[in-house]
């Protein structure tokens, strides 16, 4: 610690002149002054205000106290490493005891209470007891998420474990009447006081298996009032239930072990009632919507079918059939025309060939020779081809183109070349 204050020697008039200090020097002096046993490792009790859990995990709040009209406050910090170990989530207005040390935060020039641990104020012993129970029951698997049962969507019978005289029962009854009036079965019990945990556990066991869902409910109260709902007897009765259990003990800020053991926690008894039954009006609406949907879906299906039918009818229409017959007929006409044309072509080809043959044939006819001025001699009806067949005095028929004549052979000459 730096303490080199230099005093100027008394001058005239005995006035001491202060020495100019640096901020760091002042800050160091303050830090040193706060570092006294009186402010280290102390337990401070007060009301939580401005509670804030930063995203870094550090927790900031103030501890306050009211004295008459005057309020006092100490700023507190809880580092993440300590905040992680909190067994409960503090809320504004909660009375707590904070353990820690006061220190100076130089960057902002303020002092803070660095809290290492927090516990509920008052009934300190009981808080510790609840924390011990919590640990033990947790080890037994009483709070295990995998053993949580699902609540029925549409229960028929609701069991309520609560005081038969309290406002809680009335609240639940009102809400259920409004949302979905069904059967309520009350398993009456004391909800506070010595031995209450035994009665509560009994009431839970008695109603288990007789209803679709059980609400364990109690109105708001002090930690002391709610204490029986932390008792292992009650917790084990809940864990043993075959029927799903909703815990609705105290107000939203109050937590009891009953909340951890139940299959679901409701912030208040009224909220529990809303949680366990569906809203009848909403269900009516939902069913009406389904009706609308099947109505319009069937309407659509019918409309589609009607359109299909029209399509088919259109295709079977007489005019369409006539057209198809005409098309066929046209096709047949076309075919027969092609047949005729093909046949005609073939005929004329044949005819041409025939006339060619005839021409050739005509070229070979003896009449042709006669026409060109030749004559043919016949003897005894046979054409004379050689003079060897002729003798003088033979009677010949000479055929020319336009007639014949009889002739007699005078003499026969043989051409020597032959």
């Amino acid at each position: 610690m730096v303490r080199d204050r230099v005093l100027v020697p008394p001058g005239e008039g005995g006035i001491v002149q202060p020495v100019v200090m640096r901020v760091s020097e002042l800050s160091a002096i303050i830090a040193g002054l706060l570092d006294t046993p009186e402010l280290q490792d102390i337990l401070v009790q007060g009301e939580v205000t401005n509670y804030k859990r930063h995203s870094s995990g550090h927790v900031y709040f103030s501890l306050g106290e009211k004295k008459g009209s005057e309020g006092m406050m100490v700023n507190c910090v809880m580092w993440r490493s300590h905040a992680q170990r909190l067994s409960f989530e503090p809320v504004d207005g909660m009375h707590v005891q904070a353990f820690g040390s006061v220190g100076h935060y130089a960057p902002q020039g303020k002092y803070q209470f660095y809290v290492q641990a927090l516990r509920h104020a008052g009934a300190g012993e009981k808080y510790l007891l609840v924390e011990r129970w919590k640990r033990e029951l947790e080890e037994l698997g009483c709070f295990a998420p995998e053993r949580k049962k699902t609540l029925p969507g549409y229960p028929c019978r609701i069991g309520i474990v609560t005081s038969e005289t309290g406002a809680v029962l009335q609240d639940i009854r009102n809400i259920i009447t409004r949302r979905y009036p069904i059967e309520l079965l009350v398993s009456p019990t004391a909800v506070q006081g010595d031995g209450a945990h035994i009665v509560i556990a009994e009431a839970i066991r008695r109603i288990d298996g007789m209803v679709d869902v059980i609400i364990v409910a109690r109105g708001g109260g002090s930690f002391e009032d709610l204490f029986p709902f932390n008792h292992p007897d009650v917790i084990q009765a809940i864990t043993a239930c075959r029927t799903p259990v909703v815990s609705a003990v105290g107000h939203e800020v109050d937590f009891t072990l009953c909340d951890f053991a139940a299959d679901m926690r409701a912030p208040t008894p009224s909220a529990a009632a809303e949680l366990v039954v569906p809203d009848r009006t909403a269900l009516f609406d939902e069913i009406r919507k389904y009706r609308g949907r099947i109505d319009s879906a069937l309407g659509n299906a019918l409309e589609r079918a009607r359109q299909d039918l029209t399509g088919v009818a259109e295709r079977l229409h007489p005019r369409r059939m006539e057209r198809r017959i005409a098309e066929r007929r046209e096709y047949i006409d076309d075919l027969s025309e092609r047949l005729a044309r093909a046949a005609a072509t073939r005929f004329s080809q044949e005819r041409l060939r025939l006339s060619e043959i005839r021409t050739g044939l005509e070229g070979c006819s003896p009449l042709n020779l006669l026409a060109r001025g030749y004559c043919v001699a016949e003897k005894g009806g046979r054409v004379v081809r050689s003079v060897c067949n002729l003798d003088a005095g033979d009677l010949l028929v000479l055929r020319v183109i336009d007639g014949r004549s009889d002739a007699r052979v005078e003499r026969v000459y043989h051409d020597t070349e032959f």
Partner: protein, 68 residues
């Protein structure tokens, strides 16, 4: 007080609603044939009436177990 087995109404309403939802889905699906759609529609109408009856018939009853 008789033992409360699997609640009949709970199952009933849940089954009705589940079947109704199935029917709505099937009718809305264009693949379902018209015949089937009409049959489903008839079944759906019955289910709706039953649901509404279950809801409409609901009434508050309160009873209390005796303490031991």
């Amino acid at each position: 007080m008789r033992e409360w087995r699997e609640s009949t109404m709970t199952q009933n309403f849940e089954n009705l609603i589940t079947e109704l939802k199935e029917i709505v889905k099937k009718i809305e699906d264009g693949e379902t044939s018209l015949d089937e759609s009409i049959a489903l529609y008839e079944r759906g109408a019955v289910l709706i009436t039953q649901c509404e009856k279950v809801l409409g018939d609901a009434e508050l009853k309160i009873s209390q177990l005796g303490r031991e």
